[in-house]
């Protein structure tokens, strides 16, 4: 966040805190290690999204920051306060739960005002602050209702209200939108991001939905099996994934990943993808000198669906940078058309448990392409597909790490 804005928010009484997680590890009493040496730093006022498949330890991480779970090892700081042994109530952190966890016997106003009441803030001041929060969240009409009388979206807002009314040092949100229907989710996504930006409170947001992560976060941290994979701005994460898992997890439809072999034939480089070959321009190897060490060895190659195009639509593409394909499925989405075909190359397991099951044959893999709407292909057509080779991603086959240098 830019310094003048930080200064402005500070003047309005917003506590702008950095949050530091230093090698935080969680081992549950049953011996299960849910989080391994998680290190992350949140800048003042930053909106960080922690994303990963379900069961990877996102809630665990959040609950350790909240103080609802003990930290097995490592250090947690908010500002320069060491928080490991501080009670949840004294951490000055507000949390929005996936289930909202509203107090059913209290009205909306009482729910939102509860944190203030616990701080012994006078009734009048309390009403004022509750009203302010309710205005931000468009809840002023509902203040006298009980949670049971509200819709899902309204309940979600009340949970938000309870968090923002306190002006805490840090917001924690654990999949706050996952109980809403798709349309509302899109709207609330924008609303929450907007409110956060307006309030300027540092926010740690957890979700399993990568679209949510990409659209809301200043920065996105991808986690798998309790281990942080990569933390970067959404665009950087998308363009330069550090490993196969991040590459496959971020983006929808997923990146296509195959085992392929890069070789040099008569001074030209080419990628052997099953029974087809693609010419690889010199400059790709020039920008990634490490790739030369992988010549004539299998590597993992990744192709984003939008880096594939119907040759009939874009004909000015080098002919040796094209693949043959037979259209298996076609999904017209209006602005674009998704086309699925198969490629005779071994696919790569990215480790994302939610990924689609591959075709039965080990050496035949699914490929998804995102063609422009101008494409005229039909199911069963044999087509040529342009590959934007300069956008190819390369990964080590064994370590699954990106080959970028």
């Amino acid at each position: 966040m830019d310094p003048t804005r930080v200064a402005g928010l500070r003047r309005r009484g917003v506590k702008m805190s950095t949050v530091t997680l230093d090698k935080i590890t969680k081992i549950y009493p049953n011996g299960f290690q849910a989080i391994t040496e998680l290190s992350l730093t949140l800048e003042e006022g930053e909106f960080l999204v922690l994303v990963g498949p379900s069961g990877c330890g996102k809630s665990t991480a959040l609950r350790m920051i909240a103080g609802l779970e003990d930290i097995s090892s490592g250090d947690l700081y908010v500002g320069d306060r060491w928080l490991n042994d501080v009670q949840p109530k004294d951490r000055d952190i507000a949390m929005v739960f996936q289930s909202y966890a509203l107090y059913p016997q209290m009205t909306v106003a009482e729910n939102i005002g509860f944190p203030l009441k616990l701080r012994k803030i006078s009734r009048k001041e309390r009403q004022e602050q509750v009203w302010q929060a309710a205005e931000i969240l468009e809840l002023t009409e509902q203040l006298d209702k009980k949670p049971a009388q509200l819709s899902g979206g309204q309940r979600q807002r009340v949970a938000m209200g309870r968090a923002i009314v306190r002006r805490p040092a840090l917001f924690l949100m654990d999949e706050p939108l996952s109980n809403l229907d798709a349309k509302l989710r899109v709207q609330m996504r924008a609303d929450i991001a907007g409110i956060q930006r307006e309030l300027g409170v540092t926010t740690f947001y957890v979700t399993h939905d990568q679209v949510e992560a990409m659209t809301m976060g200043d920065r996105v941290a991808v986690i798998k099996d309790g281990i942080l994979q990569q933390a970067a701005a959404p665009e950087a994460l998308y363009d330069n994934p550090d490993n196969v898992f991040v590459a496959a997890f971020i983006g929808s439809p997923s990146m296509n990943l195959y085992e392929a072999t890069l070789s040099e034939v008569g001074g030209h480089y080419q990628l052997q993808l099953g029974d087809q070959s693609l010419a690889v321009p010199e400059q790709i190897l020039a920008s990634r000198p490490a790739l030369r060490d992988y010549l004539d060895q299998p590597v993992v190659v990744g192709i984003r669906p939008e880096d594939l195009e119907d040759a009939a639509v874009a004909s000015d593409h080098p002919n040796d940078q094209r693949l043959d394909a037979e259209v298996a499925v076609r999904e017209a989405l209006g602005a674009e058309t998704l086309v699925h075909f198969s490629i005779a190359a071994p696919s790569v397991d990215s480790g994302d448990p939610d990924a689609l099951d591959e075709l039965g044959d080990e050496d035949v893999s699914r490929c998804t392409a995102r063609f422009s709407a101008a494409t005229r292909t039909r199911v069963g057509d044999r087509i040529r597909v342009n590959v934007s080779t300069e956008k190819l991603h390369f990964f080590d086959r064994r370590t699954h790490l990106a080959i970028r240098t």
Partner: protein, 358 residues
């Protein structure tokens, strides 16, 4: 209910009607008997209606002198009820209901206290007071223990928690008769020790227990309360546990994030959600304590409560007329009937506790 045919619906209603009549007829008979003259009750040909009514039986049961006007007694009770009602109405307007609640209890207390001094009363009045004391104390203690234990056992998932619950269930399944003798002999042992060591007749400085010369357990209301709390505990613990389990852990955690201590979270967020459970469990406990016969009979040979007292009316040397026995029976049942009607909704909720919610 659309699918069930008219025929089966008629059958269902007919069955329910028979059951209701079956259970309510004895009560109607008792009530009728209590307001009849003895000659109508003893008549060869039953007098079902058109008989002359009288409060003689009630007078005889409650009051020493026969010529006290029953109307003045009724007016007295009515005045007390009206005061309580007014307090209740005031309490509705005041957000916090504790003041009126305390005031109402105070009024009833004073009313009970003053009652015997306004009129000469029979021993039965003492039995009523015993019943009330035993019931209220049993409820207070059982509910307090049950709430805390139920909460703990709902949140703690270790193996020892399961063991405690299963053992509790086992004790619940044993009949009263299995407990009453051990309790009796245990209490007797303690009393013997109190007497022989002199602790029982200790004169505590500054503290003067009214009406108690020597400390003992047997034949006191305390003995009954202790025994009842013990046998009732498995029920309250299971009952509260089933309610607590339905309270998501996140609600407490949310309260703690909002700045509450664990105790504050329990008191200000969880307990208010528990009122239906507290009322339902309280009602069941009340019924148990108020109706108890065996423990009172064995553990408190002279400190009777009403159910034991009523037995003396139908047999033994203090046997009285059948109308008086009926009056006693109605007098004992009426408070419970009123309470049950008031809290009927909660009772049904309590019975359905733990059932899967649609």
């Amino acid at each position: 209910m659309r699918r069930s045919s008219t025929l089966s619906r008629i059958g269902l209603h007919a069955t329910m009607l028979v059951l209701v009549v079956w259970s309510i007829l004895p009560f109607i008979w008792t009530f009728q008997t209590s307001i009849k003259f003895t000659r109508d009750v003893a008549a060869k040909k039953p007098v079902l209606w058109g008989y002359e009514t009288t409060a003689n039986a009630y007078r005889a049961f409650w009051l020493d002198e026969d010529d006290i006007n029953m109307w003045s007694v009724l007016v007295y009770i009515l005045v007390v009820a009206v005061i309580c009602l007014i307090l209740g109405q005031i309490g509705r307007r005041v957000r916090h209901s504790w003041p009126w609640f305390t005031a109402a209890v105070g009024v009833i207390f004073v009313a009970l206290w003053r009652f015997p001094k306004v009129w000469e009363v029979n021993d039965e009045y003492d039995f009523l007071v015993n019943s009330i004391v035993v019931t209220v104390l049993t409820m207070l203690i059982s509910l307090s223990i049950g709430l805390l234990a139920g909460y703990g056992l709902a949140r703690y998932t270790g193996i020892s928690g399961a063991v405690i619950l299963i053992v509790a269930l086992g004790f619940r399944a044993l009949p009263r008769t299995a407990f009453v003798l051990p309790y009796f002999f245990g209490a007797k042992e303690i009393d013997d020790w109190l007497a022989s060591s002199g602790v029982g007749s200790w004169d505590f400085p500054l503290i003067d227990f009214p009406g108690i010369d020597t400390l003992q357990i047997l034949d006191t209301r305390l003995a009954i309360v202790l025994a009842l709390v013990a046998v009732n505990q498995p029920f309250t613990i299971w009952m509260f546990r089933s309610f607590f389990i339905e309270v998501p852990k996140e609600i407490e955690e949310a309260a703690m994030m909002d700045g509450a201590t664990r105790l504050q979270a329990f008191r200000r967020v969880i307990i208010p959600m528990m009122w239906p459970a507290i009322i339902a469990t309280g009602l069941f406990t009340m019924l148990l304590a108020y109706n108890e016969y065996l423990f009172v009979r064995v553990l408190a040979p002279t400190e009777w409560t009403l159910p034991v007292a009523i037995v003396s009316l139908t047999g033994g040397e203090s046997s009285r007329t059948i109308t008086e026995a009926a009056a006693a029976s109605v007098s004992i049942t009426l408070p419970i009937v009123v309470v049950i009607i008031l809290f009927q909704k909660h009772l049904v909720k309590g019975l359905g506790a733990g059932a899967v919610k649609g």
